[in-house]
Amino acid sequence: QDRLTLVLDWFVNPDHGPIIVAQELGYFSDVGLEVEVIAPADPSDPPKMAAAGRADLAVSYQPQLHLQVAEGMPLTRVGTLVATPLNCLLVLADGPVQQIADLRGRKVGFSVAGVEEAMLAAMLAPAGLGTGDLEMVNVNWSLSPAVMSGQVDAVIGAFRNFELTQMALEGIEGRCFYPEEHGLPPYDELIYVANPDTLDPDRISRFLAATERAVQYMVNHPEDSWRIFADSAPELDDALNAQAWTDTLPRFALRPAALDHARYARFESFLHEAGLIETPRDVAGLARDLGAPQ
Amino acid sequence: MTAPALRLTGTARVGGRVLFGPLDLAVPGGEWCCLLGPSGAGKSSLLHLLAGTSGAVTLDGSARAGDGAPLAGRVALMAQTDLLLPWLDLCDNIRIGARLRGTRPSRAQAEALLDRLGLAGMGARKPGALSGGQRQRVALARTLLEDRPVVLLDEPFSALDVATRLAVQDMAAHALRGRTVLHVTHDPAEAARLGDSILLLAGGQIRAVAPPPDAPPRAPDATATLSATGHLTRLLLEAA
């Protein structure tokens, strides 16, 4: 058995379905891996741990990867967990914001991750607005409560597979504007990153193969896989996660190891044009396809 | 202001053991009464029982004024330690009682009192810059400024030299004339000089000793004073 340490992006939640299911069903041991899964509280820690060699793999976000590589962190994407954006601009369904153009002069909350200004700017542009036309407030710990209580008119950085359900459970109907439908290039929300200098292609490939098997199982057996996930820890078994499980299923990468070069090149140039990256790099400096011939 | 008599009867206990009594102690109103006795006999405890500040000492009996009215609010106590407040200057230290009652006597009055106790011009000093005898005089000044009908003094002149002691004794005797004073002292000459009556607390019992016939404060070198001093000294030596 080879050991492999994986740091999640946050506490365990349905986004990590394939990992938990693979662990519970023994897919990791089937490929000769003993995987240690670590759940941190701050999503900015895991890539640091991977880059520092403290973890073999970390779950991170594609936009972050671009920024971090630009700042010189030794990181590369080696696999994909969730292959669509999850981020969305969340508003109240019956609130004053019915279309993006309604945001003029209003308050938008965000949880600092680094790219939300650029994202918002891209979403505003088609409506003829700029970030200067509205007020941005960091609401850090309480995205949906800030919207629900009406303290801000919208928040960016909410996850479409959770926040809507969450609001529904509180009896409030929310609505998402999807970035990829409003001018943003599509991207992978959750990816696996590793240190390019020290990564072990063999073990990571085995890991990705096991999660690929888990995704297939989940797609084939949504109910059973939910039970497996919910039984893995008592605090996970609730209505929100059950709904999120269903909502997230179609978004998991069915081919975790596959790399879409163009997607990474597009996002890199998007960030470069937004002024967040000075010198864009080619995809080889950002992501790897471990299955490709060397 | 009429000065009430003092009466303490019963048994005092501390830490489970009898300290003194059963006894019956009476101080006539408006008189100066000196209380002598061996160290540890319970003199300070007796004063604290009258003042209502006895900590560990309990009295199985009563300590009250002869006129039946409560003593609280009519007593000034000068304890054995000076209890000066280190953050207040001398004038404020001796006016602390008035402050605590919400009134505010003039600084000039305080300065004048310090003056009469040989501490002229020191009103603005803090207690930290005083000698032992000076601190004791400030504590006395504070007690006098209380202006109460009943005054309890616990060894008020023990840290003073002969000359200062005589002067301060005279000053206190005049200032407290007509009040009921219970004055604990170890100095037989002092008792012989100041007491309208003299009590001895020894072996848990009170015993009255005849004072010299003339009115206090008496001349320290008068024959009657000297012979009373000698008599008291002998009694104290026997009591031990």
């Binding site: 900015s44 890539p47 640091k48 880059a51 520092a52 972050q64 920024l67 971090q68 630009a70 700042e71 010189g72 962190m73 030794p74 308050k107 909350g109 600092v112 991750a113 680094g114 007020e135 941005m136 407030v137 960091n138 609401v139 850090n140 710990w141 309480s142 409560p145 800030a146 209580s149 303290q151 967040l276 | 604290h48 003042a51 209502g52 500040t53 900590g55 609280a72 609010g73 007593v75 000034a76 106590l77 304890a79 330690t81 209890l83 407040l85 280190p86 953050w87 207040l88 602390i96 009682g97 402050r99 605590l100 009652r101 919400g102 803090k126 930290g128 810059a129 209380e146």
Partner: protein, 245 residues
């Protein structure tokens, strides 16, 4: 001499820092070396100064309010033992609530302006001040209180003239702690919701993987904290020395 005294700890801190980086082979994205941070400090000086001013305002307002409220609460509790028994647990309780649980409540009440930051600073420093002062108020030297009672002082006046001055060192001890906690309170307040201030800047730098900028902001915060602690410590010492002389 004073310059040297300030200089030495700074040098020591830098040496420790550089040592940690070198010896423990800290990667720069976890702990950048001092030189690199110094560079960022210089190039971003305008940005840092701008955000530092915001935080400083919050800190000073929070400190003044927190110390004042702490003083009043401790005195109030000391005045009424019944209230103390009832309210002290609530005070303790208030400290057990983590920021992220409070954040939505605070913003709901105070909005996203300076109000919620001052409230957070206040909340953080209020307790050490109250606790340290209250402890000191509850152990007055016995003799003084008995004397004051014989003199006919009411509990309130005894508190004012005897117990409070006697407990001053305890209050100052709490104030010293507060000076250290006030900046962290303001930073926490900025996390609750802000678009300016050192705390916000740190979050932003962290999100953008600009570790240098984050540590530069951290350094500014630390210097601010040190300066505040030093000023308060000096003030306390001077006050303590003067009042007995």
């Amino acid at each position: 001499m004073t310059a040297l005294r300030l200089f030495l700890p700074v040098m020591l801190a830098l040496a420790l820092w550089q040592g940690a980086v070198t010896l423990l082979a800290m990667p720069p994205f976890i702990l950048p070396d001092p030189l690199r941070v110094a560079g960022t400090l210089w190039t971003s000086r305008a940005l840092l100064a701008d955000h530092a001013m915001v935080t400083l305002t919050e800190v000073l307002a929070g400190l003044a309010l927190g110390a004042g409220l702490g003083w009043i609460s401790a005195v109030g509790l000391a005045l009424s033992p019944g209230a103390a028994r009832l309210l002290r647990p609530l005070l303790v309780f208030s400290q057990a609530v983590p920021v992220f649980a409070l954040a939505p409540i605070l913003t709901l009440w105070f909005g996203y302006g300076i109000g919620s930051k001052i409230a957070m600073t206040l909340l953080i420093i209020y307790f050490p001040v109250t606790s340290a002062f209250f402890d000191a108020l509850m152990r007055p030297p016995a003799g003084w209180e008995a004397m004051a009672r014989v003199m006919g002082g009411s509990p309130a006046r005894i508190l004012w003239h005897i117990r409070i001055p006697a407990a001053l060192p305890g209050f100052l001890s709490g104030l010293r702690l507060a000076a250290v906690y006030a900046p962290i309170g303001a930073v926490l307040g900025e996390w609750v919701g802000a678009s300016r201030g050192l705390g916000y800047l740190m979050l932003l730098a962290n999100g953008r993987a600009k570790t240098d900028l984050m540590f530069a902001a951290l350094l500014v915060l630390a210097v601010l904290t040190l300066a505040l602690h030093r000023a308060v410590d000096r003030g306390c010492l001077a006050l303590e020395a003067r009042r007995l002389r």
